[in-house]
């Protein structure tokens, strides 16, 4: 769909507002050209002494009344037209958001947050401007131009109009010429500013190196050069922008003098009155706006088109998650993965060469806890994402309680899984609302119970407004460990009694100290409530007490068993298994970390 069709459709939908605005603008335009004429006639009346006393007051009254009507109509159409155009902005933004909310990770993988944000803000604004300002200015400008020229030509004197209008095409031409150069100069100025910005960014990021090498003076000199370049290009742009004024001024001067000269000659010969001459002067002033409007409308439309070209594909982008399952609720049972193969697709859509999962399978009966460990990048988080159908495996399948994952509706699946991601996400709301994200109607007592299980209740109580303290971007900043615990509380509330039967914790205790982590795990075990839990961790101590532990390396499970079994595991070459080695490493590390010394 092109911008024209989008706006056209919008105008049709709101045709009443646009029609009314158009009508009002037309009346204003007519009255607008009538005013100078009226003034002219009044001046003539005064000169000829025809206009006195009550007649004079009546004419003045008419003038003021016309002015008042124009004022009133202007107030009316402005509100009507602009507020209608604002609606388009609201529509587009809400549509965009609703689309985004349905898209899966595949969609977000290829797009930067910054770009999506720009769509929702600048680009929607540009389209809105095209539908509002541009339409208005275009209509108004054209109408004014036509009416004024018509009145000058037909209503006063066509010869005078011809002579006086001579300079105006030159003005229009100069506008066009100026805007072209301004466009180029503005772009150059933007580039120079960008270069300056980049240099400052680079320098300030590496300020330690700069300081150590004593390069401050050199850096300042380089900056001075770039600042000079930015200044010069800014000046050039400013020059062009300032050129509009003399363009208008010279034209108006010439037109005024032409009007005086030729018009004066006509008055001399009695073919025109002084009053009409005065009107002419007023009409000349009215011609400036349409000249400006043309260039302005064109640039608004251009920007609107470019913005729409970026917006439309996202609004119409095909959904990257499929939701064809029909099973509306999850039957808790054994979670079974069979021979899973998965590789993240590259940005251009082709599968990557290194698989994330290369033949993974496991069997997790309901109510058991599975600990997943392994080096970074071994596929642990990927497995959790596949369990939530954020991605689909290229090979193999996952069943839950006998039904394949793909057979469930996404809503059912999401309701059945409580997930704590690696990076806890807190949104701008109160702590209580954050915890209750999956169950917004949960009573405060349950929220607090979940917080207690997650060992974060006391921390929350210490916040300025307790559970109602706003957190997130514009709220209180919580420490890494606190944020993780809030995210855990969220998942615990979602998987509480009657809630999600599967709890996925992706390295959810990394920022939490060992003592608190142990408390949370103990609490988890205590309040099991038949929950199935998959616990991913880098710290082996976290998964020590799981029913099953699996070591994931390079997308495969290489070791599997209980903690004791894995410690005793020996590889064919006699070396200890990965789990056992890692256990020793982590023991030494914690001994070093706990070595005597004052704690912070």
């Amino acid at each position: 769909m092109t911008l024209a069709r989008l706006i056209g459709g919008f105008v049709l939908r709101h045709w009443r507002a646009y029609a009314a605005s158009g009508a009002m603008l037309a009346v204003i335009a007519v009255l607008g050209v009538w005013l100078p004429r009226q003034v002219g006639q009044m001046v003539d009346g005064l000169v000829a002494q025809r206009l006195q006393g009550p007649a004079l007051w009546r004419e003045i009254g008419l003038l003021l009344a016309a002015g008042a009507v124009i004022y009133g109509l202007r107030v009316a159409w402005r509100q009507m037209l602009y507020s209608t155009a604002y609606r388009l902005g609201v529509e587009l933004r809400v549509r965009l958001y609703q689309r985004l909310v349905q898209q899966g990770p595949r969609f977000y993988q290829t797009r930067r947050t910054g770009d999506l944000m720009a769509l929702a803000t600048n680009d929607v604004d540009a389209v809105e401007m095209a539908a509002g300002e541009a339409l208005l200015a275009g209509f108004d400008g054209t109408l004014t131009l036509v009416l004024v020229v018509a009145t000058m030509t037909l209503g006063v004197d066509w010869r005078l109009a011809g002579v006086v209008l001579l300079p105006f095409p030159a003005m229009a031409l100069s506008f066009w010429w100026i805007s072209r150069h301004l466009h180029a100069a503005a772009r150059q100025a933007l580039d120079a500013f960008g270069a300056l910005n980049d240099q400052v960014q680079e320098t300030l990021s590496g300020v330690r190196t700069l300081r150590a090498l004593g390069l401050e003076a050199r850096s300042s000199a380089h900056f001075g050069e770039l600042a000079g370049a930015a200044s010069a290009s800014g000046l050039r742009a400013q020059r062009w922008e300032a050129a509009y004024e003399p363009a208008v001024g010279l034209t108006l001067s010439a037109a005024s003098v032409l009007s005086l000269g030729f018009g004066g000659w006509l008055v001399w010969r009695g073919e025109m009155t002084v009053g009409q001459l005065t009107s002419f002067g007023l009409y000349l002033g009215q011609l400036i706006w349409p000249m400006f409007a043309a260039g302005w409308v064109l640039s608004l439309v251009e920007r609107g088109r470019a913005a729409w070209a970026r917006l439309a594909p996202v609004l119409d982008a095909p959904l990257t998650v499929d939701d064809h399952g029909r099973c509306g609720h999850v039957v808790p049972g054994t979670l079974r993965a069979e021979d899973l193969h998965f590789a993240y697709p590259a940005a251009d859509g082709t599968p990557a060469t290194t698989p994330a999962l290369a033949g993974l399978g496991f069997d997790l009966p309901a109510g058991q806890t599975l600990g997943l460990v392994g080096p970074t990048g071994s596929g642990k988080s990927t497995l959790l994402k596949l369990l939530q159908r954020q991605w689909a495996p290229q090979q193999g399948r996952i069943t839950w309680g006998g039904t394949a994952l793909a057979e469930h509706t996404l809503a059912a699946l999401r309701a059945g899984i409580a997930w704590v991601p690696q990076e806890p996400f807190l949104f701008s709301a109160s702590v209580a609302e954050n915890i209750a994200l999956a169950r917004p109607d949960a009573p405060r007592a349950e929220i607090e119970a979940a917080a207690r299980e997650a060992a974060v209740h006391d921390d929350i109580r210490r916040l300025p407004q307790g559970y109602d303290t706003p957190v997130g971007e514009r709220g209180v900043t919580l420490s890494g460990g606190q944020r993780q615990r809030v995210a855990i509380a969220r998942a615990l509330l979602a998987s509480g009694a009657g809630g999600a039967p599967l709890l996925l914790l992706d390295d959810a205790l990394s920022a939490v100290d060992t003592g608190t982590a142990a408390r949370i795990l103990a609490s988890l075990r205590q309040h099991r409530q038949g929950r199935t839990v998959i616990l991913v961790s880098h710290r082996l101590a976290t998964v020590m007490d799981a029913d099953q532990i699996a070591v994931l390396r390079h997308g495969r499970i290489t070791e599997h068993g209980s903690h004791a079994e894995l410690l005793a595991l020996r590889q064919p070459d006699g070396h200890a298994g990965w789990y056992a080695t890692q256990w020793r490493v982590q023991q030494i590390e914690s001994s070093l970390a706990d070595a005597e010394g004052p704690t912070a």
């Binding site: 000169v47 902005g89 809400v94 958001y97 944000m117 330690r208 050199r218 010279l250 996400f425 999956a438």
Partner: protein
């Protein structure tokens, strides 16, 4: 400081104004000259209607055909108009030059100042915000200059000259036109009063919309997983609706009190002028002299209303710029690091640490009484677990933070007493995360210092980086950094070492990268360090213990104290010692890394 603040405080306004005056001060003479020319231009502009009036009153109406005089008057009006425009354009360009130069001066002084700020400032500051101060905020100051100089000054001059000319023609009528001034000010003031709450609310809601969008995009996976997608979509729709309502409220004030009202004032003024005329003529015949004046005044009204509108409309944009200027001012007043004023010089490169206590914040000490003596040319290794104070010691030796008096000395002189340029030359740093410029390998080593190719390549050889550099696609000219060749962590460290060695330092401080590097690069680093023995004093914070195995002494830091010190063999003999455990740990990790397919 709240970035969303709409209106500046009074002291901010003063600070901003002071800043503007300071930066523009060197161009005082140009400003004065431009002002005078602008007054002249305004006068010429005002002359046009006067000549027109004379034409009408003296020749047109009385039918007095004096061709020479008429040509003179009309030609004069044209010439005056054109000259006025030409002069104005020329002066506006000069003023633009003043604005640009002032901003350039401001930028350079802000940048220079920022580079002199103490390291502690950079620890606290957010780089992005800092960059914004230097670039975006100064850009806003430029806008401020342009508004003030171009629009305000120009409009005020125009207004005054028009008023004076009108008064000369007919002071009574001028008074009537002068009523426009308080009328326009009044209307705009009323507009700003009435619209301020709506404007603020709109801005806040717009901010909220952006924040919600950004937040949702960032946390989409969690929102979807929690089944909260519909709720969030509803919340977004509601916020948009509130924003719409707020904009409509703003629009109301806009529509009633801005352009339309001002245009109506125009009409009312016309009516008033004509009315006054009519009244005067109740008595005798309309003096022919008066009609020309009416014509002139009609032209003047337009030339008065426009500047008035410009002056008043600029206020809101001015406010934003003033807030930005105030921020720049605050930055300029941030105290710079005290410049080292000593004249000491680094000699052989012996380092002495005596009872060093230090903390970044009072009451939270990081180092507790370190004692260390390093002879010239020695190779010392420093190890310890995270948070033991290793990097802090290095930062202090680099004078990034002020150390307590007498605690640090080089060749017997207190650290703070060494001359700045000598210090920078004599003490080199290889940081933990080497910073690469988006430039060639050669430029990355030279870093803007005047070094010829021979010196650069010698340094690269000493750092054992010459080999791999020559193997890059364009050798020393290969672009590195952003958009350039991707180097491994180890290769980056070798470049950084070459960079440090190119300055021929007496003392080299090395803060090793924590990531794994391949064994070949590791060997190169070791060889490079070994070759410096006896010539350069080396203090190396090691994460890979193999690097410092052959050091003259190894210092083991633990929670800010020296727990063990000695050579490798001695420390390994300490049963259950920290060093021994660290070595064991590294051994296990190395074994684990070499297992299984890479």
């Amino acid at each position: 400081m709240n970035p969303d603040k709409a209106t500046p405080e009074p002291d901010e306004r003063r600070a901003a104004l002071a800043l503007l005056l300071r930066s523009a001060a060197p161009d005082r003479a140009v400003l004065r000259g431009a002002l005078l020319w602008l007054v002249l231009a305004a006068g010429l502009e005002a002359l046009g209607p006067v000549l027109g009036k004379a034409f009408i009153d003296r020749h047109l109406l009385p039918h007095r055909a004096d061709l020479a005089a008429i040509t003179g008057l009309l030609g004069g009006a044209l010439a005056a108009g054109w000259l006025a425009n030409a002069i104005r354009y020329g002066q506006l360009l000069r003023l633009a030059g003043v604005a640009m130069r002032s901003v350039q001066r401001l930028r350079e002084s802000v940048y220079g100042h920022v580079l002199r700020l103490p390291m502690a400032f950079f620890d606290r500051a957010i780089t992005g915000q800092l960059v914004s101060r230097v670039t975006n905020d100064t850009e806003a100051v430029k806008a401020l200059y342009v508004q003030l100089l171009f629009v305000m000054l120009d409009s005020v001059i125009m207004l005054l000259v028009m008023m004076v000319t009108m008064a000369l023609l007919n002071w009574r009528l001028m008074l009537i036109v002068a009523l426009l001034v308080p009328a326009v000010f009044g209307i705009v003031w009323l507009y700003q009063r009435l619209s301020a709450p709506a404007v603020a609310r709109t801005r806040a809601l717009r901010s909220e919309i952006n924040a919600q969008a950004a937040e949702s995009i960032a946390g989409m996976a969690v929102i979807q997983a929690s089944g909260a997608a519909d709720r969030f979509a509803q919340r977004f729709a509601d916020t948009n609706q509130a924003h719409f309502d707020s904009r409509r409220a703003e629009l109301r004030a806009n529509a009633w009190l801005l352009r339309p009202a001002l245009d109506f004032l125009n009409v009312a003024m016309l009516a008033a002028l004509i009315g006054v005329y009519g009244l005067r003529e109740q008595g005798g015949a309309l003096d022919a002299l008066e009609v020309g004046v009416l014509y002139a005044f009609v032209s003047y009204i337009a030339r008065v209303v426009e500047p008035l509108i410009q002056i008043t409309m600029q206020f809101s944009q001015l406010q934003q710029a003033v807030v930005a200027a105030a921020r720049v001012n605050t930055l300029l007043h941030e105290p710079a690091a005290p410049a080292a004023s000593g004249h000491g010089r680094v000699g052989a490169g012996a380092i002495t640490v005596r009872d060093l206590h230090f903390g970044y914040q009072p009451g939270r000490p990081v180092l507790h009484g370190l004692d260390l003596a390093v002879g010239p040319g020695q190779f010392i290794g420093i190890v310890g677990h995270t948070g033991s104070g290793k990097s802090t010691l290095l930062s202090l030796l680099l004078r990034f933070y002020p150390a307590p008096e007498g605690a640090l000395a080089i060749d017997g002189q207190p650290l703070a007493a060494i001359a700045d340029d000598d210090f920078r030359r004599s003490v080199g740093l290889v940081p933990q995360e080497p910073f690469l410029l988006a430039a060639s390998a050669r430029d990355n080593i030279a870093m803007g210092r005047p070094l010829d190719d021979a010196a650069i390549e010698a340094a690269a050889r000493a750092a054992h980086a010459d080999g791999f550099i020559r193997q890059l696609e364009r050798g020393y000219d290969t672009p590195l950094g952003e958009g350039g060749a991707r180097l491994s962590v180890g290769e980056k460290q070798l470049i950084a070492m070459a960079r440090a060695l190119a300055g021929q330092p007496r003392i080299l401080l090395l803060d090793e990268a924590t990531a794994h590097i391949d064994s070949e690069t590791e060997a190169r680093v070791q060889r490079a360090l070994g070759a410096l023995r006896g010539r350069v004093t080396v203090l190396a914070i090691a994460h890979r213990l193999s690097t410092i195995r052959d050091a003259d002494a190894i210092i083991v830091l633990n929670h800010g104290r020296i727990a063990e010190r000695g050579r490798h063999a001695e420390l390994m003999a300490v049963e259950g010692g920290i060093y021994q455990r660290l070595v064991q740990l590294q051994q296990l990790e190395a074994d684990e890394a070499s297992d299984g397919p890479a």
